[in-house]
Amino acid sequence: MLRIEEHPILTFEKGKLVTFTFDGKELQGYEGDTIASALHAAGVKVMGHHHVSGRPRGFYCAIGNCGSCLMIVNGEPNIRVCVVPLEEGMVVETQNNRGDLL
């Protein structure tokens, strides 16, 4: 279990349960999560594959600087999931290509 339940300094008040899907599977996170933190807590580390080498990609900076965490969210590609708040009903998919410009 990766969620911190006890901490000497911080208290984490979990928000409401939020249900979303990851590659079709139903997962749950909490209000206040980013998409990346909810995925990570659910045991998902691989967020996509590099469009040329096919190597797995996870997040790196978690503050929106590096572009390592791009995924398809509600059909839109190239979303930095480390800085996007999780919302009820979100459809999150791994991205294995460059993503089409809409």
């Binding site: 911190i4 006890e6 901490h7 300094i9 979990k14 580390k45 996870g58 900076c61 978690a62 590096c66």
Partner: protein, 361 residues
């Protein structure tokens, strides 16, 4: 086009203090922050700060952010705050373009203070792109903001203050730290932090680096190796560590894209973390309307970022004619504070760097 006296890019400690100083002197301010909340790096810092009282020493980083934000909310007639607003471009004619939510906005401020902070450096080793290899800031964010552990067992690379503090925070969150390694022969961070961690049973291994991560879809282990005096790997000293996270804490480099685009003169200064803007003593760049503050001017600490923010805010406001009676004294006070923050051995390093980018001596 939206007009304002001073636009500030970045809502970390530097940007927040700049907004406060400028508005206190009467200038109208628009503060832009890319994230959904203000505070920058402060938000994930749960430890009490060093420094003197003026820079909120012994207050926890998270708390400082709230104090500053509340102060700005009390000046809402002059200060407008946009979160979820990313500055995309800064053009020769002084126009700043911003993505605000899904909207594209153009702003024409009279002055701009750029306080975008820094981004984490990276290391070269085999399989360094595997999921499970995270920057120290990422580990802190995940753990201290979201309440999620990065994994079960961590190898920390880098024994500077950030590496030491994040290791301690990992222990607090109930994560095992297998070891802290550093390529340098001595520990870079403060000894108080180092002893605290050693007492908790975590080995700090100097003159070592990471050469390989292994794992299929994510990190399952790491190889570390000893280095000789010339920083070359010593054959036969490889050790395998069973870890699912490798945390990289090898420093930061200034996030200066907007300044490059605006045409500010930049110089490479290793002591300051990379390419940094040339500036005068009032933190004005070589482009007249553009001021700078915080980690962007050179990697230091939140304490100096706050003082620099205040200085840039005062200077930018005064260049537009907003002058309170105490302006001169306030500017002097900032300079004095910076001087005292930059005394001591760590300060020598910063001062050497600063000497290479100052326009006026």
């Amino acid at each position: 086009m939206r007009e304002v006296d001073i636009a500030i890019v970045g809502g970390g400690p530097a940007g927040l203090m700049a907004a406060d100083a400028a508005a206190t002197n009467g200038a109208s301010v628009l503060l832009l922050e890319r994230d959904g909340h203000l505070g920058g790096q402060l938000v994930k810092q749960t430890h009490k700060f060093f420094g003197s009282e003026k820079q909120y020493a012994s207050v926890r980083g998270v708390k400082i952010a709230t104090i500053l934000e509340e102060k700005l909310q009390g000046m809402s007639d002059l200060v407008e705050i946009w979160t979820d607003a990313t500055a995309l471009g800064l053009y020769e004619d002084g126009v700043l373009t911003v993505e605000k939510g899904k909207e594209f906005v153009k702003i024409k401020p009279k002055r701009i203070i750029v306080a975008t902070g820094a981004s984490e450096k990276f290391l070269t080793f085999v399989n360094n792109d595997l999921p499970g290899i995270y920057g120290a800031g990422a580990v802190q964010t995940l753990m201290n903001v979201n309440g999620v552990r990065p994994g079960q067992r961590v190898l920390m690379v880098g024994a500077g203050n950030i590496g030491l503090i994040v290791s301690y925070q990992l222990l607090q969150a109930g994560v095992e730290v297998a070891a802290i390694i550093d390529a340098a022969p001595t520990i870079g961070g403060y000894l108080v932090h180092a002893s605290k961690i050693r007492r908790a049973g975590v080995p700090i291994i100097t003159s070592h680096t990471v050469t390989r991560a292994y794992g299929k879809e994510a990190v399952e282990g790491a190889t570390i190796v000893a280095l000789d005096e010339k920083w070359q790997p010593l054959p036969g000293t490889e050790q395998e560590l069973d870890v699912d996270v490798i945390c990289i804490s090898v420093g930061l480099s200034p996030l200066a894209e907007l300044l490059w685009q605006a045409g500010c003169e930049m110089r490479y200064v290793p002591q300051l973390g990379g390419h940094v803007p040339v500036r005068d003593h009032h933190l004005k760049t070589t482009v007249d309307e553009v001021y700078i503050a915080g980690d962007l001017t050179g990697i230091e600490e939140a304490s100096s970022a706050m003082v620099e923010g205040r200085l840039a805010g005062l200077a930018a406001a005064s260049s537009l004619g907003f002058k309170s009676d105490s302006l001169e004294a306030d500017i002097l006070d900032c300079k004095e504070q910076l001087k005292s923050l930059r005394s001591g051995p760590v300060g020598d390093h910063i001062n050497q760097g600063m000497a290479q980018v100052m326009l006026d001596k």
